[in-house]
Amino acid sequence: MSNTSTLHRSTPPSGILGLVAREPFVMMALVMLGLVIGSAILASWISSADPLSISPRFRYRLPSSEFLFGSDQFGRDIFSRVLHGGQISLMVGFLSAVLAAFFGTLAGLLAGSFRLIDQILMRVMDGLMAIPNVLLAVAIVSLVGPSLVSIVVAICIPEIPRVARLIRAMVLTLREEPYVFAAVSMSIPRWKILLRHVLPGCVAPLVVQFSYMFASAILSEAVLGFLGVGFPSEIPSWGNVIAEGRTAFQRAPWCILFPGIFLSITVLTVNILGDRLRDLLDPRISASRAR
């Protein structure tokens, strides 16, 4: 790649403005994520319409000043449902992804570094992977009722083996790195080596997996709802709104479009921020990026 352009490169300004100038995408992502989260938290203030209230007279209205995002089959205000839906969806997406990433990483690190654990743990993971989340959801829901907890658990458990395998794969290569040997030779406890020297090397694919899980959790929540083991369909979540719009796909596409846009924006921002996080953790990349 060319170095000539670097000949005349002015140093960028520092401070917040500098950050914006240097990282326009990151800033944009932060602002958008802030807006999405904010709109979910402040949903009741922003939209006066009750997301649950049914008014059959206003079935499938086009987006208008009255119904900003249109209305659904029961005449509920999609704008309000999407805003309120953010509360559940963001929680489900975030919690499922975080939990799956956490436990998966833990399992992957352990399996990648201890031969015996690898044998046992990864077989457990193979088994766990085979259990459909719907079945888990049915069982868990029956134990604790449909709640954030049951749904998050049902969604994240089958994801754990995936993360675990990914991390394990990375660990298998990273553990042969001389700097890991160097750390071992300094008698640093195993778990610290894993955290400090091995884990950062796994971040890149993990971040991708995370953003994927984040989105897919939100959609899975809808599938679970569709199958009767998610949140009650009257309770708005992006997934529920999208799932309910499914039958009206051709007739009232706005039922899917708006929650879809919110979901996409969130996924996009998570992706951008994830990319940035990865860069921060790898100084060599930041260096070559600045070129």
Partner: protein
Amino acid sequence: MARLIFTRLLAAIPVMLVVATFVFLLLRLSPGDPAIVIAGEHASQQQIESVRMALGLDQSLVVQYVLWMSQMASGDFGNSVLSRQPVLSLIADRLEPTLVLATVTIILTVLLAVPMGAIAAWNRDGWRDRVVMTFAVIGFSVPSFVIGYTLVLLLAINAKLLPVQGYVSPFADPWGSLRHVILPAITLSIVFMALISRVTRASILEILGEDFIRTARAKGGHEKRILWKHALPNAAVSIVTVIGLGIATLISGVVVTESVFNIPGLGRLTIDAIQGRDYPVVQGLILVFSFVYVLINLTIDIIYLIVDPRIRY
């Protein structure tokens, strides 16, 4: 290596045993039982009870478990409680569509996603990278039924190029089979392409920071070579992993796509069986899945050894 394969296959036995037990419990924990499903919505209590008795569901859990285990021990997966067909033949019937769909999807995905991810990494922050990112965001966040319906609307209904739905065996009609499977495969591959291209990009970026890339560059020749010959093989471990995981997903659960394109695959069988509380079918399916996963993961582990000679187990 022979040892690796042998021990893994051996290990599959306890895995399946544990999974079987776990699933047995999960199912019994779940409310609803096949008797209720069989008797139906309009059945009276007494009708339900008589069905329950006929199915042996009135026996204690332990008895049911022992019965099932002894059945399994003789290699008998039992019959569906609903349709009374042998579980294995039900699964076998659904296996082919699933495998065909998975194969086409994976080929499509890998052929496109890996180069896409690699080019995005190479073109970091350039327009190609942005295109791939946009694609990934769409792949992650657009529900597959939306993609499916849209494709059907455009290519099948409006353009009349392809059939709307259904499955045809490639052994009966290879061309027809491909025509049927192509839209669902595209639908599915969009999600996987998004994931795999992102992982490819991330891993390659990591590698591009390594010193040997400089050596490769010093050799001259076309720069792209560095991407394909040096960066990609070094990133292969994580890429192979995600591809493997993708295959696993394709085999067990692509219910939505199977539904949208009416493909009689394992995903739907699973959901139907769970919804119908068809205990033997669910148990049989999950056993099969866990065995298949052991195989897939074993294959991935063997591929690791090929793509990265440093890896030891």
